[in-house]
């Protein structure tokens, strides 16, 4: 039985990754799961300098999911390289570093800085965080801006580049095509869906940021639809995510066209979710005599 997948020349032992921002750099969850069993660790977004993030409350629960407006708090690239990449050094899993910025130059600085870091297998460019006022999502909601930043990053990047797309757009296919045309090696989607919750007892927004990104099982059908549309619009690999809680959910994304999948908010519900997804995929393959996970990709036409 083969669970190995390949994206832009990088081999992954299985298609299970984590959603950026839901897993830190793996330190906290290494108390619960064996990181060596993951296809890849996708790190929390890192910028050229430390970002303090948004005021609290930053998280709130909604039916079947949650809203977050962390605002990409991160220690900046210097601490990240020294501490987080060192931590991941001895694990036998791929490392995908999520990169955020407020200007194209911010992104380029981080991408260039990571170029010589041998531990970094791929870069994921966050142009879709809904919780940061400047930059970030501005690049992810306009196809010309997305084309521009993607092509500029591709000029300096030494590792393959994944563009992480926002679902908060009119046509995900158009955005996927723009990323591909600009040279992206892969795309990942969906980032969170912009939402809002009001505390009717206190007559206040539940989040200090007023809006937040929705994640969790409730968004899965939206994510599956978008992964299906995007993967049929482009020829580059798609990493699918949005509410994945089980091996069956992962299989659904793969059938929609995803080459790999990521577990996001469900890590917060159950710190062992990633392992259950890895095992669940294998048990599905045994049940239906699937020899190679790659045979399932996009099998629903």
């Amino acid at each position: 039985m083969n669970t190995q997948v390949e994206i832009a020349g990088v081999e992954f032992k299985n298609p299970v990754m984590v959603g950026s921002g839901t897993f830190g750099s793996g330190v906290e969850y290494s108390e619960f799961v064996d990181l060596n069993k993951l296809g890849a660790v996708v790190t929390k977004g890192v910028a050229n300098v430390p970002w303090p993030g948004n005021p609290v409350p930053r998280v709130t629960e909604v039916y079947g999911g949650m809203l977050n407006a962390i605002g990409l708090q991160n220690p900046g690239i210097d601490v990240f390289v020294e501490r987080d990449l060192s931590f991941l050094k001895d694990y036998d899993t791929r490392v995908i570093v999520n990169v955020c910025g407020k200007s194209v130059e911010d992104y380029l600085e981080v991408v260039e800085r990571l170029g010589d870091e041998k531990r970094v297998d791929m870069l994921e460019i966050n142009v879709s965080c809904p919780n940061v006022k400047e930059g970030a999502i501005a690049f992810g909601q306009n196809k010309d801006a997305l084309f521009d930043i993607t092509s500029r990053i591709k000029k300096v990047a030494k590792q393959p580049v994944i563009m992480k797309l926002s679902p908060n757009v009119t046509s995900i296919s158009e955005m996927a095509k723009a990323a591909e045309a600009a040279g992206a090696d892969a795309i990942s989607l969906i980032n969170t869906i912009t939402g809002m919750k009001i505390d009717i007892h206190r007559r206040k927004f539940a989040l200090a940021n007023k809006t937040g990104g929705m994640s969790g099982p409730a968004i899965k059908p939206v994510a599956v639809r978008m992964v299906y549309e995007a993967s049929h619009a482009v020829n580059i690999p798609v990493i699918g995510m949005g509410g994945i809680a089980s091996g069956d959910d992962a299989i659904e994304f793969i059938m929609a066209g995803a080459t790999a999948v990521a577990v996001g908010a469900m890590n917060f519900h159950d710190p062992y979710t990633t392992m259950r997804v890895v095992e669940g995929i294998e048990s599905y393959m045994r049940r239906y005599n699937v020899e190679d996970i790659n045979d399932l990709r996009g099998c629903v036409e």
Partner: protein, 261 residues
């Protein structure tokens, strides 16, 4: 520190202490590693809910491998907890957080201070300090005559009570009760609503004594990964280097001098 885990726990008992305040004992191996001031995440069974509810540890019985949680019903999750019966199996995540630094209070004139649903975690704190031979004064603030847990505190501490309506003890807050009873101390360990914690921070600063305060915030992961539950710190925090410590893992207990509240 012991490894964290999400595991099953068995409800041993459940009772009502005051209006909306519930008292539940759980049998769980996590009890063996529990320290006063730490907390657990309790998962509602309702599939529409995702996140564990952070609930402080009120008391620990290591012989019975049991934890006592005293909680207030505030939403649908805690409303579900209130229905649990002895024998029910629930899922919990723990042990979480740092807990109170008992060594900072041992052998000194220690005051444990709680307000409202901040009262429970001070019980195990008072118990362990008292077992180590430290004389403890418990200064607890309540809304009214429903002074839950006050009989338990009397086993381990000299008890001073403040109530908002003046029905029991000093009318006013915990600081009023300290003053009215001329309580002198070297260190305060506290948990309660933010206005109370701000007053305690100021009180400690004015008196030149140490105060350790337990903070709360909306949490998601509970283990330090999501950066949801941060508080402003005086110095750059060690994790993100941006003056934002994680309440769930760097706290919930902080030296009052170190946090901007």
């Amino acid at each position: 520190m012991a490894k964290k885990a999400k595991i099953e726990a068995r409800v041993l008992s459940q009772s009502i202490l005051a209006e909306g305040i519930y008292d539940m004992w759980l049998e769980t191996e996590l009890a063996m590693d529990a320290h006063p001031g730490q907390f657990v995440g309790v998962y509602p069974a309702n599939k529409a809910t995702l996140l564990p509810r952070p609930i402080s540890i009120c008391e620990v019985d290591k012989e019975k491998s049991a934890l006592r949680l005293v909680y207030r019903v505030v939403g649908s999750g805690t409303a579900e907890f209130a229905l649990y019966q002895p024998g029910d199996i629930i899922m919990i995540l723990g042990i979480l957080g740092n807990g109170f630094p008992l060594e900072a209070a041992e052998g000194k004139r220690a005051v444990v201070m709680g307000g409202g649903i901040g009262v429970p975690p001070l019980l195990q704190t008072a118990k362990e300090l008292s077992q180590k031979g430290t004389e403890v004064t418990a200064v607890m603030g309540y809304r009214n005559e429903e002074t839950f847990l006050s009989d338990d505190f009397k086993k381990y501490a000299k008890m001073v009570i403040a109530t908002e309506d003046g029905s029991v003890g000093t009318k006013g807050n915990v600081i009023d009760a300290m003053n009215e009873n001329s309580v002198e101390c070297d260190v305060i360990l506290a948990c309660g609503p933010m206005p109370m914690l701000r007053a305690i921070k100021q009180y400690a600063q004015d008196k030149g004594i140490k105060a350790y305060i337990s903070l709360e915030e909306r949490m998601a992961c509970g283990v330090g990964a999501c950066l949801g539950c941060v508080c402003k710190t005086k110095e750059a925090d060690h994790h993100s280097h941006v003056h934002n410590a994680r309440i769930c893992t760097d706290g919930p207990v902080f030296d009052a001098e170190d946090v901007e509240i």
